[in-house]
């Protein structure tokens, strides 16, 4: 049945409807890197009315993790006794001098896992080693990290820790929307984030920032329905949230998951790659669970200063420029030799542009 959400006939009808309702020019930001990826994969943007401009938001965890944390990850991975575990796409993200793949080629024990729970299993199977998991993501993955840390706590696994780079969406949206050069009108809220958080926070945001927000999924029809819904709100000047991903997103989200987040994490300021520090925009591990905090466990200070200067990732995420307008794009910055995170992750805006040669 879910295949129906890819039905090209239905998509074409939705596209027609979008063309019909669009009367003004709107800038709409899709928040999530997954959405950026899907929009590019199905090449939806050129099918939209010329009035609609899509802006690629800051919702790719790989893209917004700052250089300094990648450097810390590399520092940890190089430790003799450490098995460093990570989702696959973090491995190619450039730190200030190296990336994790290079470090791996020099002999560091770095393993790709598909879940922090897999990293925890590696920890219980390798009592003689320290296992560090590179915990990146947004509200969607944060509770999974929480659950993993709680499970480690319950099972008394003591050779496991997480290097966190966990972000929350609303504060970032606020920051971007309040930027003077920002031209944003509407937002496609990340459906899977809302599956955890629910939609109430986005309502405040919509009112506060005068944005029209559609909670949006990832299949072609979900994306088109989200765009349709957002334009419809915009054309009617409604600054509110509509849920265009109802089979997944409940009004209240997932309270159990949020409860686990609250148990393990507290809100902190976070530096976003290319954007800078945003107040209360991330999670950090509470002191009760600090034995699982890799920074504390290995007594490491991340150096907050290092940032590649030539990469314009921040401007791209703010919608100020498109990747093609970056001087590095395709010349000094390619997926083989990325300068910035948006070129690394396949859902990063620059990689998506490069890959699909938009």
């Amino acid at each position: 049945m879910f295949n129906e959400f890819r039905n090209p006939q239905k998509a074409k009808i939705l596209l027609e409807a979008i063309h019909k309702i669009t009367r003004h020019s709107w800038h709409i930001m899709e928040i999530c890197g997954g959405q950026t990826h899907a929009l590019a994969r199905y090449r939806i943007e050129p099918l939209l009315p010329k009035e609609i401009k899509l802006i690629h938001g800051p919702g790719c965890p790989v893209c917004v993790t700052p250089v300094s944390i990648v450097d810390t990850a590399i520092q940890l991975a190089l430790k003799n006794n450490v098995i460093f575990t990570s989702f696959g796409d973090m491995l190619r993200v450039p730190g200030s001098r190296h990336d994790l793949l290079e470090i791996k080629s020099r002999g560091a024990d770095i393993r790709i896992v598909y879940s922090p729970l897999d990293a925890l299993r590696i920890a219980s199977e390798n009592p003689g080693h320290e296992i560090v998991f590179f915990g990146i993501g947004f509200e969607t993955t944060a509770p999974i990290h929480a659950l993993t840390i709680l499970e480690a706590y319950r099972k008394k696994i003591r050779n496991f820790s997480v290097l966190t780079s966990l972000f929350t969406v609303p504060q970032a949206i606020t920051t971007i929307a309040q930027d003077k050069e920002c031209t944003l009108n509407g937002i496609l809220a990340a459906g899977h984030v809302c599956a955890i958080t629910g939609t109430s926070e986005y309502e405040k945001l919509a009112k506060h920032l005068k944005l029209s927000i559609a909670v949006t999924g990832f299949e072609p029809l979900d994306l088109l329905l989200g765009i349709y819904t957002c334009i419809d709100l915009l054309e009617n000047r409604e600054y509110t949230v509509k849920n265009a991903y109802r089979r997944i997103v409940a009004y209240d989200g997932n309270p159990k998951a949020r409860q686990e987040i609250d148990e393990v994490f507290e809100i902190c300021n976070r530096k976003w790659r290319g954007i800078g520090e945003i107040e209360k925009s991330g999670y950090q591990i509470r002191s009760k669970y600090e034995q699982y905090d890799a920074l504390k466990r290995f007594n490491i200070k991340t150096d907050n200063k290092k940032e590649a200067s030539s990469c314009q990732a921040g401007d791209i995420m703010k919608g100020k420029i498109t990747p093609m307008q970056c001087k590095q794009f395709g010349i000094y910055c390619t997926p083989e030799h990325p300068l910035g995170a948006p070129m690394v992750s396949s859902e990063g805006a620059c990689a998506a542009y490069y890959r699909y040669n938009i």
Binding site: M1, F2, E4, F5, K10, I13, L14, E16, A17, K20, I21, G34, F87, G88, Y114, S115, P116, L117, D118, G137, T140, T141, P143, I144, L147, E151, R154, K155, H192, A195, I196, T199, E203, F218, L221, L225, Y228, T229, D232, T240, V241, K242, N243, A244, R246, R247, I248, V249, A250, Y251, N254, K256, A257, E260
Partner: protein, 87 residues
């Protein structure tokens, strides 16, 4: 396992030692063990799984209604306001 993907629960396992509740989930022909600690789901139901954990159950009725909305759009071919639970 990394990406959030819908799958159908095949069987549920609640470990006796109080460990995490898991289920075998069928993702279009691929079977994979997933933690379902947060969801009340029984075999036959669908869940959205991400990084090894089920985030939510999938509401089939809502899915069907959404598909019907498309038909309405198709028939009327005019601006409609899809149902929403936001007041």
């Amino acid at each position: 396992m990394c990406l959030a993907i819908p799958g159908k629960i095949i069987s549920v396992e609640v470990p006796e030692d109080g460990g995490l509740k898991t289920a075998v989930v069928d993702f279009g022909g691929i079977l994979k063990n997933i933690c379902i600690e947060w969801v009340e789901a029984t075999p036959g139901e669908y869940v959205l799984a991400h990084a090894g954990v089920a985030l939510t159950t999938i509401d089939i009725k809502e899915a069907e209604e959404t598909l019907k909305d498309f038909e309405i759009i198709a028939c009327h071919n005019e601006s409609i306001n899809p149902k929403d639970h936001v007041q």
